[in-house]
Amino acid sequence: MFSKLLLTGIFVTTVVFAQGRGGGDMGGMGEGGVGRGGSMDLPSVAVGRPSRFDQLTQTLKLNKDQKKEVKSILDEAQKEATPVRDQIAKSRLAIGDAIQGGKSQDEINQLVSSEAALESQMAGLELGAFAKIFKGLDKDQQANTRSVFQMMKGIFNGRNWNTEE
């Protein structure tokens, strides 16, 4: 029940943000400009951010044992995610190639479905890791997991979950 309430809160925030990003005029952006409803041209700036692990530690105020546990959960999930990530990359390349090669819509749809299944598998790994982390937290920490939930999206896209690539 508690987790439902918490996750509902996460969802509301996410949807509000998504609506803010998506609505409004997205055309008419000048060279290098930023549209009101989207950040297609927004350059990403790498400012000396703390590592993901540091962010997790600070956000959740993890104790020594929890730090060890969280790191172990994410390292393990990263191992499982690596082949899935590679398959997704191949799968997306295949879609691009199919479009380039003028394949039929049916063929493209099949590739899209296969890619989506892999995406789902990856989401399962990301959220499985989140659930394990969540269960190892105390109630106060659990109430503070909104940003961690967001952080899980795409966390295993690189070779190392703890570094931005």
């Binding site: 950040s39 990403s44 398959q87 691009g96 479009i99 989401a123 795409g154």
Partner: protein, 162 residues
Amino acid sequence: MFGRLLLAALLAATLASAQGKKGGGNNTNPMGEYRPQPRQSKFDLFAEKLKLNKEQKDEARTILSAAMEESLPVRQELEKSRVAIASALIDGKSADEVKKTMDDYASAAAQLTGVEAKAFSKLYASLKPNQQPKAGQAFDLLAQVLDPPASGERGGRGRGRQ
């Protein structure tokens, strides 16, 4: 409303950063602090990969903006599904129930990739013959253009894109 405010803040920060760079000539602000150069935007990377000229970039922006708009409700479905998956796992639901949430996610993901594929097909059709070879490789970048990370996020939807 909240999202718009955030975007306004992001825009203000971006402009301030751009103005700072104009007068500078190096990577330091007036206080002498190091300011990293902004990276190329995802769209610029995408346009560079396809070697788009200015007109083609404008056309690409139009196509991608429409795709972004079209993908919005699907992204909301994906977010709902992510919450449902996490909830099911935390609450220790049965394997069948977890599978259902993941199937829902896959269904929304397929819709989103479908939107991307449609947009890419339009873009591809607008390319000149000398731009078309290897253009398919840019499909992966397209997802990054359409899926800018929200504030505080580093990744997008979670694809093999880094």
